[in-house]
């Protein structure tokens, strides 16, 4: 039994997920209140070095050939053993393809309470979960003795979960991983070719306000700087300025990126409907009454040409 906050690090093929850093930052907030340590829990095989930029007090490293790639069964077994023995105050998982496969099962197996879709913690250690498509927040006491929590991004800066000083890494014992029922056969790479805008997390969208084909380049530059993909509304695609695969709207794709940055898009309902599921819409338009501002979370009234180049520059500087 401890007041430590364990954070399950998610990694795939040598790459640690951004969400894990967000969770380390969240873990810090929680640990400060509880008076414990932030412990990053890293499961893998020959993957020790992944832990060197974790903003954690300690890294518990579980090494096993069967933990080289994520499989729910092996992770569940290893973690059940660890959590059962250590009994930390809380274990944070990503509400993701890795964390969500594990957390619920552990809750039942270990008879521990589970909170999902947590976005942040209050200073006094309450969880704040985001449900109903972000329309409702639910707040409550973090249940005990050990709370399992799955986390969504947005509440903390991932940067706060990084640290220049490498934490101490302790190897922890791995229980026998026998009779596993889930096995990885292979990875399948995303299809190459043009991007699938419905799956892109960051979209720079251009509308009629972009005025001509040459200006698409401005959007491309911004997209490149910020790591997004350019897409457009119908008039832009009609003009042949962007490929049809980049069309957002009634006749194109419905998208749900984390950020939808709409430039010169008035926000006709057909378009608005297709972007409704975006986490955050930011819109620039010269018309303050443009309906896009009714769906956008943030708006800028103004000319895109005044702004885009400055913004691109500043984004590059900020990186």
């Amino acid at each position: 039994m401890s007041q430590d906050i364990y954070v399950l690090i998610e990694h795939l093929r040598g790459q640690v997920a951004e969400l894990s850093y967000t969770m380390l930052a969240a873990g810090r907030e929680l640990a400060q209140g509880a008076g414990g340590n932030v412990v990053a829990v890293l499961l893998g095989h020959n993957a020790k070095e992944l832990g060197k930029d974790f903003a954690a007090d300690k890294v518990l490293y579980l090494d096993h050939a069967l933990l080289a790639d994520f499989t729910s069964d092996a992770y569940q077994k290893a973690l059940a053993d660890l959590i059962g023995k250590d009994q930390p105050r809380a274990v944070l998982f990503g509400n993701s393809s890795i964390g969500a496969d594990v957390a619920s099962v552990l809750s039942m197996r270990l008879d521990l309470p589970l909170v999902s879709s947590c976005r942040s913690f209050t200073q006094d250690g309450k969880f704040v979960s985001q449900i109903c498509g972000g329309k409702i927040m639910a707040e409550g006491e973090l249940p005990g003795p050990t709370a399992l929590v799955t986390m969504v991004p947005g509440g903390y800066q991932p940067d706060q979960g990084r640290s220049a000083a490498a934490p101490s890494i302790t190897e922890a014992p791995v229980p026998a991983l026998e009779a596993l029922r889930v096995a990885l056969s292979k990875y399948i790479e995303p299809e190459t070719g043009d991007v699938d805008i419905s799956k892109e997390p960051l979209l720079i969208a251009v509308g009629r306000g972009i005025q001509n084909k040459d200006n698409i380049e401005l959007a491309e530059n911004l997209a490149q700087a910020i790591g997004g993909v350019v897409c457009g509304s119908r008039p832009v695609i009609d003009q042949g300025w962007l490929a049809t695969s980049r069309l957002v709207g009634k006749s194109g794709k419905h998208v749900k990126p984390k950020i939808y940055f709409a430039m010169g898009i008035s926000g006709a309902p057909e378009h608005a409907e297709a972007i409704m599921q975006s986490d955050t819409i930011i819109a620039i338009n010269t018309d303050p009454k443009a309906p896009i501002f009714d769906v956008a979370k943030y708006g800028v009234e103004g000319d895109i040409f005044d702004l885009v180049e400055v913004l691109t520059e500043k984004v590059q500087q900020a990186k």
Binding site: D111, A138, I282, L311
Partner: protein
């Protein structure tokens, strides 16, 4: 092959959500209950498996307004057996739901249990993995493609960024469906009506509803209404600065 699909009903987000006077729960008096979107995919995936390899599809739904609709629609798509689980499911959490489902599913000799990977009102994990553990079955979620043969299920699991993993799971197993191999099909109203005439719903009572394992909510609230965009004003330079800050805040920089 015996495929079981569990479907949950969730409040329709199209309707304006309100918090009940107690302040700690949704006011569901006027809620429109609709099938959880991912569960709809699970049903579709079940039907696709049946169409490809034969077998039966049984659909289980907790008894809430709209449960019959969900079941008959599933029957119109090709589900063979419809089970409605009786009990007071209003505001019941996934732990309770999973335990109640488990009691029923145990009797059904399932080869594969499919359910939606998540639901928008999940606050204590998702029903699929909770159920899997109750039944001592393996669980894989975020699945977008399934085939089954020889006591094993070969599936595709989605990771962020479009990466897929092909995994092998021994059956019986529970799979959390992210997306069926094809979008849920449309069923004509006439077909649903036909199903109402030709299929029947079995009603079974949930033995008990044990919510243990879920959190207690102290307060529910709506995040500040975003009726209109928060306008960022200033010179292009200032606006750009603010946008950069915003990008950082949103975690993209």
């Amino acid at each position: 092959m015996n495929i079981i699909v569990l479907a949950k009903l969730v409040p329709d987000l199209v309707e304006e959500l309100t918090i009940d006077p107690g302040g700690a729960a949704l006011d569901l008096t006027f809620a429109r209950w609709i099938i959880n979107e991912f569960d709809d995919h699970a049903i579709e995936q079940g039907i696709l498996l049946k169409e490809r390899g034969g077998g039966t599809v049984t659909v289980l739904v907790p008894d809430l307004d709209g449960a019959d609709d969900v079941l008959f629609t599933a029957a119109a798509k090709g589900a063979d057996r419809l089970i409605k689980l009786g009990g007071d499911f209003n505001g019941v959490n996934n732990h309770a739901l999973a335990r109640a489902f488990a009691a029923v599913v145990k009797e059904l000799q399932a080869d594969l249990i499919l359910t939606g990977v998540q639901a928008h009102d999940d606050l204590d994990g998702s029903a699929g993995p909770l159920l899997a553990e109750c039944l001592q079955m393996p669980y894989v979620g975020y699945v977008s493609g399934v085939s089954i043969n020889d006591g094993k299920s070969l599936l595709r699991k989605e990771y962020p960024g479009g990466l897929l993993a092909e995994m092998e799971v021994t059956t019986p197993a529970v799979l959390g469906i992210q997306a069926a191999e094809q979008p849920p099909r449309y069923v004509a109203v006439s077909k649903v009506r036909q199903a109402m005439k030709t299929s029947s719903i079995e009603e079974q009572d949930a033995s008990s509803l044990d919510p243990c394992g879920g959190p207690t909510v102290g307060r529910m609230f709506q995040p500040e209404a975003a009726a209109h965009a928060t306008m960022i004003a200033g010179s292009p330079d200032e606006v750009a600065d603010k946008l950069v800050d915003l990008f950082k805040e949103l975690g993209v920089l």
